[in-house]
Subunit: 344 residues, 2 copies
């Protein structure tokens, strides 16, 4: 079996670490695994499913001999390194948002538009986490009848901000529980909270801001579902109104979604389509307390879909609730699946 | 100044306690304060703004001499006691859902339909907490142009389930933090979690169920915004599609809302209307990180409204985010405001 030399850029971060784990779990035919990170991590030894690997520094000459580079770095690094990855002859599967809307770059969810991998010219973008999770759930409906509009409100886990996110949440929790036990009063029981990763205290709070705000007053995160959804589903007229909210959960994003379709669909048809959709699991017996929750969907790759019911505002609408692990299917697993398409 | 004899039924619970506090804060002209509760609490002495009060047992003969009874009991007790409260000549301001949709009973948010107090025949219902908070925010828009449809996804605090809710959340948090510190692995770090108040672990999780599910697969809580909203705003055709979700927050519900109006409104007009709406505060400078959060809106009576922007799906839609203390404005304060209307 042919083997491939794989680079992971941003290898020490939450998504990079998960990419390496997923490569192992899915038995990707890895020849060399090259772990790249910032100068700070250079020389550190990572234990991986492919043996111990010493971290090299991300730089212009770091990509020679690689077939595929999985990127888990910020936009500036992705932009700076992309020409050098291409020059080295590797394909760059990038999890940053730098190239997602570039018309020269395919944006791929393998369950939805695998064919778009073919027209890549050296870069393929991995979509936003909430976008991937939402689209895996609703693309099944889109195949029954074209979706014209989507209302979405998200409940996004702290690990979406990297490994420092859950740490900040748990540290704040501990401080508040201690202050509460000591009889503290008022907001946060008087605990001294100094948010660094998030805009405000995230423990026992919710924050309606992820990313910066644009001219239309939507946050960057909120526009991704519309902009990326249009490109992935090849529907340039798709309209999405989204509200993205950070909640005090470690892992797995949940999304409350209303989709409005061209034709009126039966709930039975929607349930059947979801149950047959690749990457999705129908998890919908509300009377038995069977519905998706972050607690159930962490550390696995399937998007759970439940609470399917008629939209009470629009006769052509369907209301649902989905939940998936944003570090895995929302980032690392989706990137490795793209790499699998590349070597097929 | 005339004084009134006030009974509080369910006086030892979270809402009953808050009612007593709010009566004091608002300097309600209380003659006698009679605290009623179940047999379990009989004889217990409560410290109140009106002096120490010994708890009496809720029973058929408990209401003699009272002018107004504020009810913070479950539906069965409200239903059983209502005839006896009326027979004693008192007006029953009931926070349970027992009479809310009864055509003989007004359902009142004083900022919206104070005039409905007048046609009461002994019972006035206090609406659902999420309904009150959402309507205080959006009734201002309704006055500019009739609202035809509402999409809402809620982020509801644990104290909505009574005082035992936050306790369960904090206890679970403590167990999980301990297990995490001890190096526990997997779901909840291996902590032993035994949910009693909520369906599942609520710490570091979100649960898309509040109340039981009906035939249309909406939960009882989710239908309240439509059913009660129609009655409060006198709009029997109002359509609402709601998803209610419990989140690990101690106090204050948040709601992500899209309203669709008959005419297209300008954002400036919406902002002006919200800023002038009684009971609401425009809190909307996203670039300055000014938006409503549970952390900011607990232990006070105003509904904060922010993230106001155009709906990207419907040209006649407005998207917003609001947050209010569901124990106060969502329950106790609203009931005391109704009592104030009664004695005016």
């Amino acid at each position: 079996m042919k083997k491939y030399n794989i680079g992971v850029m941003g290898a020490t971060g939450a998504v990079g670490q998960e990419m390496i784990k997923v490569l192992g779990e899915r038995e990707f035919p890895v020849g060399e695994l090259r772990c790249l990170a910032s100068e700070r991590s250079e020389g550190k030894v990572l234990s991986t499913p492919f043996g111990d690997v010493k971290v090299a520094r991300t730089c212009e000459t770091a990509f020679d001999g690689l077939d595929i580079v999985l990127g888990a770095s910020e936009n500036d690094i992705a932009e700076a390194m992309a020409p050098h990855i291409k020059a080295a002859g590797a394909v760059f599967v990038d999890n940053s948002s730098a190239f997602r809307l570039d018309p020269e770059v395919p944006l791929v969810v393998p369950e939805i538009n695998p064919e778009d991998v073919e027209w890549n010219s050296g870069i393929i973008s991995n979509p936003n986490c909430t976008t991937i999770i939402s689209l895996v759930a609703i693309n099944a409906i889109n195949r029954l009848s074209e979706i014209e509009g989507i209302y979405a409100s998200s409940y996004q886990a702290t690990s979406g901000a990297g490994a420092a996110g859950p740490k900040e949440m748990y540290d704040q929790s501990a401080a508040i529980l201690k202050a509460r036990e000591e009889g503290g009063k008022g907001n946060s029981y008087g605990a001294d909270i100094d948010p660094k990763v998030f805009q405000y205290q995230i423990a026992y709070n919710v924050i309606p801001q992820i990313g910066g705000f644009g001219e239309n007053l939507y946050s960057s995160e909120e526009m991704k579902l519309q902009n990326e959804g249009r490109k992935i589903m090849h529907q340039p007229e798709l309209r999405v109104s989204c509200t993205c909210v950070r909640v005090p959960v470690e892992r797995s994003h949940a999304v409350s979604i209303n989709v409005i379709t061209k034709e009126r669909l039966s709930l039975d048809d929607v349930r059947k389509a979801v149950s047959e959709a690749p990457g999705a699991r129908l998890y919908d017996e509300p009377d038995e307390k069977i519905y998706p929750m972050p607690l159930l969907t962490s550390n696995q790759d399937i998007v759970f879909v439940g609470r399917i019911r008629r939209d009470l505002v629009n006769d052509n609408g369907i209301n649902l609730w989905c939940c998936g692990d944003q570090v895995r299917k929302g980032a690392a697993t989706n990137a490795v699946q793209i790499a699998e398409l590349l070597i097929k």
